[in-house]
Structure formats: structure tokens, C-alpha cells
Amino acid sequence: MTDVPEVVLRASDITKRYGGTQALKGVNFEIVKGKVTTLLGENGAGKSTLMKILAGVETPTSGTLELDGELVSFDSTADAADKGISIIHQELSLCPNLSVRDNIFMGRELVTSAGTVDYAAERKIVRQLMERLEEQIHPDTLVADLRLGQQQIVEIARALSIDARILIMDEPTSALSASEVDVLFKVINDLTASNVSIVYISHHLEEALKVSEYVVVLRDGVIVAAESSANVDVPWIVAMMVGRDFDLGQPPSLAGHEATALTIDRVRVADPANPARLSVDGVSLEIRAGEIVCIYGLMGAGRTELLEAIAGRVPLVSGTVLVGDTDIHGLSIAERIELGLGLVPEDRQRDGLVPSLSVGHNMSLASLAGFVNGLFLSRSGEEKIVREGIKNVAVKTAGTGASIGSLSGGNQQKVVIAKMLLTKPKVLLLDEPSRGIDVGAKSEVFGLLSSLADKGLAVLYSTSEAAECLSIANRIIVMRKGKIVAEFGSEAATQNEIMAASGEQADTSRTNGKNK
């Protein structure tokens, strides 16, 4: 640590625009040779955008990249890979229909002298990689048959097999178990020892501090801090990430609301990817009117499946769900919406929005019955409802006829929420409502939920950020492998307790492990 840090890749004044949103506003970022640099920031701060630019996935709107002091530009990921830059994407980019071996060598298959794929050689290398990662995955296993964490291991193995000089890891541990994370850190240490430079992105601050030499904090497309990690601690990082004392709100008072709004009793849901397995295994929960309940859990804990099953998207294997006193077994999604049950899905691009429809038409989609005049839709009735929706959730839009894609992520999310609110729900389910929206929008959304709960709406939302549980929720439910493993009141819990219950490795022993 005493020698002068040698910068291997330098990004200068990088900006990136997507339509109306500016994701990066003149970022200067350096990767130090043979060290781990951690990039931290809230959802939507621009971390992934920056990494995509470094890995050639996206080109910057302006700014320059210097590799070993020479100006470079990457036209494609292959281009960047040729120059020794490899990226582990946050979302898995594997072909589930192919084997582990095929996935690891995808696009750069080893070839025998006869021109056929050299399976034996590939298999041998995969075995070595798996040994290094201390994982028992056979090279010929189909990726579809692996659990999520193992798929992430395959993704890591693929990046390792490229022999990159610069390795970018975008949330590599989100689905890994504690022991798998330890192995990954050992591998990272080996890599840096052989002069590989690593950029590490994680939401787990303790984890990031433990593994990295440098910490860079990005906020709203600007780098707000760059420090040696020896000099900083978690509260400092949080303050930098958030930028101000950030309060997502207080739990609603529950005063004046007695009735049970939603009853979930021993609900079991099959795993959509593998129907023989259960992704929700006997979950029971009661939510009162005016109450906000948060479900915390890792990727694959069964949160999404539970919410989708309640909303009627996927069938229950067994168990009952009551809205008020009504058993909703066998009801269609439309009938459930009619009863007052709405879902704001996790992935708004895939499940929430119709990209070809305008803001107004997206918003009115679930409540068309509210402005039907005989056979026909009433244009003025729709306009009225949509304006009301825009006002209720404070959507910033050029107009009701504007394209939905012209809105920022946070405003798109508000449109999806407004769409469900226009159906006059009694119970609102939100799956990761803060995903991909900026801090300001997040607090607006949470504030909105809190004020709706005061008016008697029951809210059940899921999140993978412990900080979000400790804001507006009256109760915090922790799910792990399809089961409820812990329940906390709003005062009793700390972030560490919540994360520990979920099986996450953010407990104190890991933080103490920092002084290696």
C-alpha cells in the first residue's frame, strides 16, 4: 500500500444521457492496478451505467477513456474484452438451456484441429474454475437446473476464464450464501495479488469495505467522494450516498383502523422455474387496514412469488387468502382488483407498463370501467380520472398524452402506482417499489404510501434494502427460502438483525473480519 498507485484505466468527464434523463454528469473515475475499487451509490445513482461504459456495453455521450495512458474507445463488449476488461453483470446473462460448460465458453469456444468444439478441454478448464471457486458444479449440468447462487458462480467463473486485467463485478454476491461470499473474496485476493484490477459494486457496505482498498461514492450521476477505505466507515459512506439526512418517513399511526384487510393463511406457491419445488412454503400473515408491512428477503426468498400469488398471477398450491372477509380463491385478476386488491409489480418495464401507450392510457388501464359511457369510453371521463391520478401521486409529465418512455424511472413507477390507486384498492401490494428510482422519488413514493395508510389503505411491500424496512413499516417480515423466519416491530429492529435473519452476511462478525 506504500507504493504510488498506478492507474490502469482512467475515465474523464464521462456524461451519459438517456433521452431526457442524464445518468452521468461528468464523472472522473480511476481504476488502480492490482487493487479493488468499490463503487457505491443508491439505486439509480449511475453505477451500472458507468460500469457499462467501462465495459463497452454503452458508449458515453461525452468524455474520454484512457487505458494505460492511451486514449481508447470501446465499440462493443468484445472490443473491451480484447483489451482485457471483463464484466460480471448484475442481472444474470446466462442461457438456461445450455450447460455450464457451454455458457462459460459462449462465443469463444475452444476448437480442435478438426474444427469441432473441444469439449474435453473446455470441461477440464471448467473443472479447474469450479475447484478454484470451491463449488461442486459439474460442467455438463444445465444452467436451468442450478439454483440462483450457483448460476451467479457460473457467471463469475465465466468472467474469470477470460483472464481479464480489469474485472468489473456488478453486485456479484446478491444471491450467494455466506460461505460462497468468503470463497469469492479469497478469489478476489488471489486476483489482485496477480495484478488484476477489480471494480466492485455492492449494496452491502460492510462487505464492500472489507474487500476493497478504495471507495468511490456516486450520487445522482456525480462522484461525491473517493477515499482509501482504511479512512472511512459505514456511517460516512451512508451520509455520502444519501447526501443529506434522509428520512423515508414514519410508520402510520394505525389509529382508527381495526378491521383486518388481508389474511394470508398457510400459503404455498410453486416455483415457476421448477414446479416441483416450492418458492413460498406455508406463509401466514394478517394485515390490518391502515397498516404497512414490509417483507424483507434476499433474491429468491419467495417475496415476488408470494405477492404475485396473492394478486392472482400464479395459482396457490394450497392455503387461503382473504381480502376483508372474502376468500379470493379462484377469482380472476380483474375480480381481485374489483375487490380492492392491487399489485404494483417488481419489474415495471416487463409487468407494469405498456410502452406503446401514453401516460394517460397506461394510468387508466386498470380502471376503464370507471369511465365507460354505454358501450364507449368517455374521453372527458378518462381525462378527469387521469388528471386526478397525476395529481395524487405528483407525476411530472409533459401531459397525459406524453409517451410513457419519456418519463424518468421514478415517474414511471408513480404512474404504475397511480394506475392501481385509481382502482380504489383496500390492499396495495408493492414488489420492490423503490427499484431503479432515485432517492427523491423513493421518499415521495414512501411518503405517499404512508399518507394512504393513514386513510385506511393496507400496504404490503417487499424490499431488498434493509434501510427501507426501517422507515414506514409498522411490521417487518423477513422471508428466507419461502418461509417467514423473523418478524420485527418498527422500533425493535436494526438493519443488522434484519439482514442476519434473512441469511445475509452483514452481521457483526463480518464487519469485524475487516482487520485482516
Binding site: 444521457r17 438517456y18 433521452g19 434523463t21 439505486n43 439509480g44 451500472s48 451505467t49 456495453v57 448484475q90 442481472e91 450521476g221 394478486a311 398471477r313 385478476i333 380483474a334 382488483i337 374489483e338 399489485l343 418495464q349 416487463r350 409487468d351 407494469g352 407498463l353 405498456v354 410502452p355 406503446s356 401507450l357 401514453s358 392510457h361 387508466s364 388501464l365 386498470a366 376503464l368 370501467a369 365507460v372 358501450l375 364507449f376 369510453l377 374521453r379 388528471r387 397525476i390 405528483a394 411530472k396 409529465t397 409533459a398 401531459g399 398524452g401 406524453a402 409517451s403 410513457i404 419519456s406 418519463l407 424511472g409 414511471q412 394506475k419 382502482t423 427499484r435 431503479g436 428510482i437
Partner: protein, 382 residues
């Protein structure tokens, strides 16, 4: 707060701010193509731009336009219907079969159903074919291309089986049997406009109202644009899917009846490869094969482009082989312009949020008139 948020709403519509010149050009490209076609052929032949010829050509267009409107519904739903050509043949044959008299079993007599019964039966057959397609696609999850390719063969085979490959001639009926009037559509005019064209106008108007003014239309655009989002909004996506195939089948039935009426005969081979011309019209009209985008106005224009082009080539005496080359080139050109249009929109767009998930790029340019109820219906505007 409120007033500030609503302020932009009072300003001019968004599409006006986005380069009205270029947009109009692209929006109107089928319209421009039509004008070019009319101008070129009028210059080449003095007989082209006459009222009489325009009516004859429009009568030819009507059949394809009606088919195309049905197919548009399916394509808006991100499906495809290859069976409409065969359905045209079957509907005509069923009409011919009924008009020729039905032997009543155990009665030793022949029944001659009235023309309105015949028409209802033929339309019902069309609807039935569509229903089968719809059930295959929505219930049994057969890919639309495969399902309707199958029915294309089955339906054509049934039409051939009914007639044994022969033609039902003389469908005008016999006054004594009380089944006259079937050739009314083919020969009558109203205000000197052939009835076939009027049927097209009525269907186009009804379709346009359905797409723009009714909940069903909104359901269709939504489920074609994003089925998952539509489903989670409580839209009965399966019912919508089934319905569009039934609509397409009924439209094919109408087209089959018009042809049989115009020819006063029914041949089982009628309508062969009509499905392709209908799809071409929809595509030239700017609809996206991915679903969710397209409208009746464009589809009609597409049908007129194809029809006026083919007839013009015939009139100036271009060989049949060259006709095919020209037709194909126009279709490809139109689709090319289509993708150029979408790409130019995408350049302006981008992920709607710089989310870490690297969200899918969605088309963000205002496409205001896709479902704009104010969009005027242009019928045979040439």
C-alpha cells in the same frame, strides 16, 4: 403544486413539439405512396384516373381491405392469421352449398334456405374458423403462425371436400324457390357506389370506433403492447386473444361472400394467398408485427396502395411477372421505412431510467395517434 403539475397539460400536444415535418412524412408514407402511384399511372394511362376505373379498383381493394382489417386486429394482439385466405374460400363454398339446396335427410326433399340464412351461416363458418384459431392460440398456447398455418390447410381441404373440387355456379337463385338476391352485393350500387365498397367503409368505421372508443380496443392495444402488464391490470387477455381471431374469421367470411356474390359462383380455390396480401396491407399501413401499434386508417391506405398498384400495372400492360416483382418491392420498401421509423425513434429514446438493472429500452417517442380517438378516418381518400 397542483397547478404547476397540470400547467404543461394546457400547452400544445407533445407530438407537435417533436419535429412535425418529419413525423408527418413518415406517418403519411403510405398516403404519399398512394399519391405517387395515382400520379404515375395517370400519366402513363389516360384510363387510370377516371371515376369508373377508380370505382372498379376500389371494388377490388374492398375485399382485401376487409380481410386486412380483420388481420390487423390479430396483428395488434401480436399474433398472425394465415388462415383468412382459406376462410374466404370456405365461406363462399358454404354459401354456394346452401343456395344449391340442402337435401333434408329422411324427408326426400330439398330445402332452399333464404339468402339471409345463407349469409349468417357463411359468416358463422368464418367465425368458427377464427374461434378454432383463437382457442388453439389462447388456450393451447400454439404459436399463432403454426396454429393458423394448420387451419389454412384444413379449411382449404374442407372447402374442396364440400364441392369435390368443383364450382357452384349461378348463385343468383330462383324466384320460385325464394332464394334470390345473393348477387345483390356484387351488382347493386348505392349513390352509384358499389355495395362492396360501402361494406368496407362500414366495417372500417366500426373497427375504428371499436379500437378507439371502446374498452375492448384499449384492451387490445394494451395486451398487444405488453401482455403481462395488461394481465396484471385486470384485462382478460385470453378473451381478447380469442376475440381477435373470431373477428378476423368473420371478416374473412364477409370477404368470401362479397367475392361469391360478385362472381355469382363459388369456387373452393377462391382466396388462395389472400392472407399474404392482407398482411402486406397491414404492414404497409404501419402496424408493428410485435403488436400494440397500428390503426385502421393505415391498414386501409395499405390496401389501397397494393390494389391501386396491381391494377395500374395491369392497365399499362406490365407483364404478370414484373407485377409480382413490383408488388414485392413495395412491400419490402414499406416495411423498411417502418423499421427506419422505429429506429429513429429509438435514438431519441433510451432506458427510461438509469436503473442498475439496465432496463429494457422502451420506445419513448410520442406516438399520439396510435390510439387517438380524434384520428379522422380516411377512406378511399385518393
Amino acid at each position: 403544486m397542483t397547478s404547476r403539475l397540470l400547467e404543461p397539460l394546457r400547452q400544445k400536444p407533445v407530438w407537435l413539439e417533436n419535429g412535425v415535418g418529419l413525423r408527418t412524412l413518415f406517418e403519411g408514407r403510405a398516403f404519399i405512396a398512394l399519391i405517387v402511384i395515382v400520379v404515375v399511372f395517370s400519366a402513363l394511362s389516360p384510363n387510370y384516373f377516371t371515376m369508373e376505373n377508380l370505382l372498379v379498383m376500389s371494388r377490388h381493394v374492398a375485399v382485401n381491405a376487409i380481410l386486412a382489417i380483420g388481420v390487423l386486429m390479430v396483428i395488434l394482439n401480436a399474433g398472425i392469421d394465415l388462415s383468412v385466405g382459406s376462410t374466404v374460400g370456405l365461406a363462399g363454398v358454404v354459401a354456394g352449398y346452401l343456395l344449391a339446396g340442402v337435401k333434408v335427410p329422411f324427408w326426400d326433399s330439398v330445402a332452399y334456405p333464404a339468402v339471409w340464412v345463407v349469409i349468417i351461416c357463411s359468416l358463422a363458418i368464418g367465425g368458427l374458423v377464427g374461434w378454432v384459431n383463437g382457442v388453439l392460440v389462447s388456450r393451447f398456447k400454439v404459436a399463432p403462425f403454426v396454429a393458423t398455418l394448420g387451419t389454412l390447410y384444413v379449411v382449404r381441404g374442407l372447402a374442396l371436400l364440400i364441392t369435390n373440387g368443383l364450382t357452384y355456379p349461378k348463385l343468383q337463385g330462383t324466384p320460385a324457390l325464394g332464394n334470390t338476391g345473393f348477387n345483390w352485393v356484387g351488382f347493386e350500387t348505392f349513390l352509384s357506389i358499389p355495395v362492396g365498397i360501402l361494406i368496407m367503409v362500414v366495417i372500417a368505421a366500426a373497427g375504428s370506433v371499436m379500437l378507439n372508443k371502446t374498452p375492448f380496443g384499449r384492451w387490445l392495444y394494451a395486451s398487444g403492447g405488453n401482455e403481462r402488464a395488461a394481465e396484471l391490470s385486470g384485462i382478460p387477455v385470453k378473451k381478447v386473444q380469442l376475440s381477435v381471431y373470431v373477428i378476423s374469421g368473420v371478416c374473412a367470411g364477409v370477404a368470401g361472400l362479397i367475392i361469391a356474390s360478385e362472381l355469382t359462383s363459388a369456387t373452393p380455390q377462391t382466396g388462395t394467398s389472400f392472407e399474404l396480401t392482407a398482411i402486406a396491407a397491414v404492414v404497409i399501413g404501419g402496424a408493428s408485427l410485435m403488436g400494440g401499434r397500428g390503426n385502421i386508417r393505415g391498414t386501409l391506405l395499405g390496401a389501397f396502395v397494393i390494389g391501386f398498384l396491381s391494377d395500374g400495372l395491369v392497365i399499362i400492360g406490365v407483364s404478370q411477372y414484373w407485377q409480382m416483382v413490383f408488388k414485392g418491392a413495395v412491400i419490402v420498401l414499406a416495411v423498411m421505412l417502418n423499421s427506419v421509423e422505429y429506429r429513429s425513434k429509438r435514438v431519441k429514446a433510451g432506458p427510461s431510467s438509469p436503473s442498475p438493472g439496465g432496463s429494457t429500452v422502451i420506445d419513448s417517442s410520442p406516438d399520439s395517434d396510435v390510439t387517438d380517438p380524434r384520428t379522422p378516418l380516411v377512406v378511399g381518400s385518393a
